[in-house]
Symmetry: C2
């Protein structure tokens, strides 16, 4: 089998406890033996079995991540932040996806519980339903998730405010007929964005936006299809389009480009999330920048506080977002580093 602590002990001529003590630096040990142990460890290439450790109720050295999907820039930015923070804390990342499905979510959480020290959860589809959350509410950090009770650790960003600001920007630019392509109905973040859009419209006296609302999804395909059907509908055609997220907006751009609709001349387009591909669309995409990598890093940090028995009082943090104006809404800015003119 593998090399165990006993092999090390034998080679160093000490007991296994001494080896353990040296490795965990838990009691003072004679300097000579300490060296012999270290040498033996080095020579044998020993490293303690994590399974045995965690069996003793120690840390597993892994943290879990449950999110809806992995295959989108929004999520991989998040993963990048998580990965970096995890790595620099010598933690492994165990990843599982829910596909926005309640049953998959529950199963993933349950199965993870015993093999990690804590879990970071992104589940915008939970919709305040705290019942889905395992009773061991400690050692959980929620991201972009809306829970009804305030007793959880949550790191959210301002979906409502971002949508509000970007819609307001369009209104201030003179647009009035502003359509929206909505994200998945079961996702709370998408609904917050819709709320933000409506609130901004209402501020300008447009209280009934139902004629402007089109159902979509967080995908390019959905944005493409929704925009096409929007273009085929009866006039008046809207002059601006707020999209569920950047992918959705990219699909919209494509539909508009294909239809020969000038952007932003005939139709301004705005996205949400601020993924970096948004700089490379034609025209470049105005969006709401959400710093998912930083949020990922922060989530790990917060989780470690919980694990280390530091500050245990549940905390709700809200990370600010920023409207980034680019060419798709008529604020063309040349140059590579440009487009980062930031508001809000």
């Amino acid at each position: 089998m593998s090399i165990t602590i006993r092999d090390v002990a034998r080679r160093a001529g000490v007991s296994t406890s001494t080896v353990s003590r040296v490795l965990n630096d838990t009691c003072p040990v004679d300097e000579g033996k300490r060296r012999r142990v270290l040498d033996a460890v080095e020579h044998l290439g020993y490293s303690p079995d994590p399974a045995a450790r965690s069996l003793l109720g120690k840390r597993t050295g892994a943290i879990g991540v449950v999110l809806p999907f992995v295959g989108a820039e929004f999520f991989s930015d998040f993963l990048t932040g998580l990965d970096e923070a995890a790595q620099s804390n010598n933690l492994f990342l165990i990843i599982s996806t829910s596909h926005r499905d309640a049953e998959e979510f529950r199963a993933a959480m349950h199965a993870m519980e015993k093999r990690v020290d804590g879990i970071i959860v992104m589940a915008p589809e939970l919709n305040g339903n705290a019942r889905m959350v395992p009773r061991s509410g400690r050692r959980l950090v929620f991201v972009n998730t809306y829970l009804r009770e305030g007793s959880y650790n949550v790191i959210n960003f301002d979906n409502f405010g971002g949508a509000f600001e970007i819609t307001k920007h369009l209104l201030e630019s003179g647009h009035r007929d502003i359509a929206i392509i909505k994200g998945p109905a079961e996702a709370r973040d998408a609904r917050e964005r819709i709320r933000g859009y409506r609130a901004a419209m209402a501020e300008y006296g447009i209280d009934d936006t139902s004629g402007f609302e089109h159902q979509g999804e967080y995908t390019q395909e959905a944005g493409y299809l929704a925009t096409r059907s929007l273009l085929m509908a009866d006039p008046p055609r809207p002059t601006a389009l707020v999209c569920a997220n950047d992918y959705c907006a990219m699909g919209a751009l494509r539909a508009l480009n294909e239809a020969g609709v000038a952007i932003p001349g005939e139709m301004a387009v705005a996205g949400f999330d601020g993924i970096s591909s948004g700089q490379y669309t034609q025209p470049s995409l105005t969006s709401v920048k959400v710093p998912m990598d930083a949020i990922g890093a922060r989530a790990v940090e917060r989780l470690l506080e919980l694990i280390d028995d530091g500050d245990q009082t549940p905390r709700q943090e809200v990370v600010p977002v920023a409207v980034v104006l680019r060419a798709s809404t008529g604020t063309a800015i040349p140059g590579p580093r440009a487009g980062s003119r930031v508001r809000a």
Copy 2:
């Protein structure tokens, strides 16, 4: 603490051995007891501790993934395939990144070894250096990795052939001054692509391509910068540009668009990887499609064969790639589903 097998045994009025037998279906058990055990399990919400299991040398139920980065579409497509396959086999995914660094790579492999049943490794920077690979060569599947010895399980795709084909397509279209923006020098996949480019050029009598080769990276930024300096250089300006990957090509597109260079009129551009954002660039991007999600799924499948002690003979698979012609090389095709005209 948590619920253990003893709690179940007590509640069912049997011994722990019986519970174990019922759960693992290892010996026949009296039907009445079996039911009582199952009821107790259900009622208590018991599930065996994975740490205790793996301490006994059983499966851990997790597989490791080591890759250079997580934050790029190429990798997240891969992760999508891995995740799906893992989930449908009730496996957890433990992820770690090497950042193309030998030391990080070694550390990740080492630390993972004991906590997973097998590891899927993508390490194009290994460069045939099999010494970096832990001795326990079984239960390892390499993806997009070039090892010197043939005794490993490898799933590669044809970096050379893809670059060869796409360069050849440009040559057949009449281009002769075809530049290349090269990927990271230490990454073997990037070097294979360069080789493919050179081989195609040589077939058309262009043996010295050194004047056409520009150092780049697998990033938009690098593509942007390399293209800018290429545009500023002395004439003659190349008429086509083969890029290290799609991100790099997206940066090139941006530089060209900003400089007012017509694409593909004055400069044709080709990428590599076939990430889906390539459909949304302006113009849409000709590329070599690599089915990373399918490759991820296949890697899990192969790893499971190894774990299950199925076919243990090392196997090298090569997944075919396909040139996808889009607008950036002058084969403009309208419509959403188009652009999938596939060659090779």
